[in-house]
């Protein structure tokens, strides 16, 4: 990621930006009334994927660690909600808040363990922890229902009138907007700068007095909160959870979303999340060729745009301005 230091935006532009965002939000809130239910369903799953991606983006994008264990946290949130709703019959609001908090705490523990390591070994530990949780969910029959899963998780009815799916749509949308805002705030905070410092060079960051472990852990925990909320949404939306929610495929899809969207950017996970949900769905027309085609698209995007699709405008601009090179600068040596 190239550092883009410009934070200054003209006030009028900022105001238009805010108005535009609010308008988009309003439109999205009304969208289910015009969309057909399949599209609504796919977009709902996309929102869950985006929420997961936004959470993963903290460790994967900003801190730059290969986290392949997002499903562990996602599953934690989903199971927390499912167990609370099914066995204790708590309301949706309590269930989703609890899922967020419990996953946040779980994230603290899992993050504390896995962040002892870096790079490939960090990656392996996140995978191993996810698999370990999968096997626990399969074996702790009393609590999780084992491989039989927990079926019949009720959805909410906001204000007692809206349908459960519409209520969840609004909740998901609200969460999504909130998360984008939080990401924006964190990105510009001391913490966000510390994260990027760790990504660029952890040794350097540490030598300038940044407590890198602490900040990396905070990134992990923030990601856990997002994943927990996303998991809770999933549980209430699909109405069924089983251990497959911890599967490597969920984690890797989330990584794919963040990377092809654009690591360490706010809109990257949004674009990526939409893509990894919509593409396999709309490729259903290709029947058996759907997954090979998805794999091919994945390879092409990553090979030609390793910084993700958000870099596309910059890439195009570069192509356009090519040929203007060759400006000599004094002292430009090669050492």
């Amino acid at each position: 990621m190239k550092p883009r230091a410009m934070n200054y935006v003209k006030p009028t532009r900022r105001r238009t930006g805010t108005i535009l965002s609010l308008a988009a939000l309003g439109l999205a809130a009304l969208a289910p009334n015009v969309l057909d239910s399949y599209t609504r369903h796919v977009l709902m799953l996309a929102m869950i994927n985006i929420i997961l991606g936004l959470g993963l983006n903290f460790t994967l994008g900003y801190v730059g660690q290969p986290n392949f264990g997002q499903a562990a946290l996602f599953g934690f949130g989903a199971y927390t909600s499912a167990i609370l709703a099914m066995k204790m019959h708590v309301s949706f609001l309590v269930s989703i808040v609890a899922a967020g908090l419990v996953t946040l705490m779980a994230g603290y523990v899992l993050g504390y363990i896995s962040l002892q390591l870096r790079g490939a070994y960090f990656c392996m530990v996140t995978i191993a922890l996810g698999q370990a949780l999968l096997l626990m969910a399969s074996n702790l029959l009393r609590l999780t229902g084992g491989p039989m899963g927990l079926a019949g998780i009720p959805g909410p009815k906001l204000a007692g009138l809206l349908s459960s799916t519409y209520s969840l749509w609004l909740v998901a949308l609200g969460l999504l907007a909130l998360m984008l805002l939080v990401t924006r705030l964190l990105e510009r905070s001391v913490m966000g700068r510390a994260w990027v410092a760790i990504r660029e060079s952890e040794t350097l960051a540490r030598s300038t007095g940044v407590d890198t472990f602490h900040y990396a852990l905070l990134a992990y925990v923030a990601g856990a909160l997002f994943a927990g909320l996303g998991g809770s949404l999933y549980a209430h939306y699909v109405g069924f959870v089983d251990p497959s929610i911890f599967a490597f495929s969920w984690s890797s899809m989330s990584v794919v979303a963040v990377v092809i969207g654009g690591r360490g950017t706010i809109w990257g996970p949004v674009i990526g999340g939409l893509l990894v949900t919509l593409l396999p769905e709309y490729l259903r027309v290709a029947a058996l060729w759907r997954l090979p085609m998805f794999g091919l698209v994945l390879i092409l995007i990553i090979t030609f745009m390793p910084d993700g699709l958000v870099a596309l405008p910059r890439l195009l601009a570069q192509v356009r301005s090519r040929g203007k090179t060759g400006v000599a600068l004094p002292g430009g040596g090669g050492d």
Binding site: G326, V327, L329, P330, G331, G332, G333, G334, D335
Partner: protein, 243 residues
């Protein structure tokens, strides 16, 4: 033997080498001096093919080098001993040396050539089973030179061989370079240590911000007041601050 004509090299948007003309004759010892960032390393990397030139020609014994990949250039008889030594730390001294002859692998003279390197640098023979990472800085530099020589080059490119080394070691290396040159290998030496370069080379080029600003016999340049001020006067400061 080596002839650079109107060579331009770009680094990203930076014009790193500008219209350089440079020549190394058969059996000659040529030096290229200049401040840090003048483009010396870029020039060597361009000759050995690690960097593509922008414009101009690069000929070696009649062959145009500018479009050849590094492995072809090595095969023509140019060995490049890079700045910062770049030995393979996890491999043994002997493995490092033997790979130096990669371009002529299978040649029957390899055992003989290895013996010659060990004769030049007896320390390397003592340490031949150690991994290169365990050697001292001076020994690593000897290994890097030895590895370049294992390519049996007609032309040896040396990039800052004295960098960060104790004066005793620099003396020893200087003796080795003279000897190699006397035995028939042409040398293009790039140095910030102008004193050493001017003493060893018969001819010297001075590079400033990518252009050759002076060239001549080393004897002439030593007596040139501008050279004395810029490159020999401040020398103690500069070598002290190396890297």
């Amino acid at each position: 033997m080596l002839e650079l004509t109107n060579l331009d090299v770009f680094y990203g948007g930076i014009h790193a080498i500008r219209a350089v003309n440079l020549r190394v004759n058969e059996g000659e010892f040529v030096a290229l001096i200049g401040a840090n960032g003048a483009g010396k390393t870029t020039l060597l990397r361009t000759i050995s093919g690690l960097k593509r030139p922008g414009r101009g020609s690069l000929r070696f014994n009649g062959a145009e080098l500018s479009t050849l990949p590094p492995e072809k250039i090595v095969a023509l008889g140019i060995s490049h001993c890079p700045e910062g030594r770049h030995v393979w730390n996890h491999m043994t001294v002997r493995e490092n040396l033997m790979l130096g002859a990669y371009a002529r692998r299978g040649s029957r003279s390899l055992p003989k050539d290895l013996k010659r390197i060990y004769a030049i640098f007896p320390k390397l023979e003592e340490r031949q089973r150690q991994t290169a990472g365990t050697l001292s800085g001076g020994e690593q530099q000897m290994l890097a030179v030895g590895r370049a020589l294992m390519g049996a080059p007609k032309l040896l490119l040396l990039d800052e061989p004295s960098l960060g080394l104790a004066p005793v070691v620099v003396q020893e290396l200087a003796r080795v370079f003279s000897r190699i040159n006397l035995e028939g290998t042409s040398i293009l030496l790039v140095e910030q240590n102008a004193t050493m370069a001017l003493r060893l080379a018969s001819r010297t080029y001075v590079l400033e911000t990518g252009s050759v600003v002076k060239e001549g016999t080393s004897a002439d340049l030593v007596s040139d007041p501008s050279i004395r001020d810029a490159y020999l006067g401040g020398q103690s400061l500069r070598t002290g601050a190396a890297r």
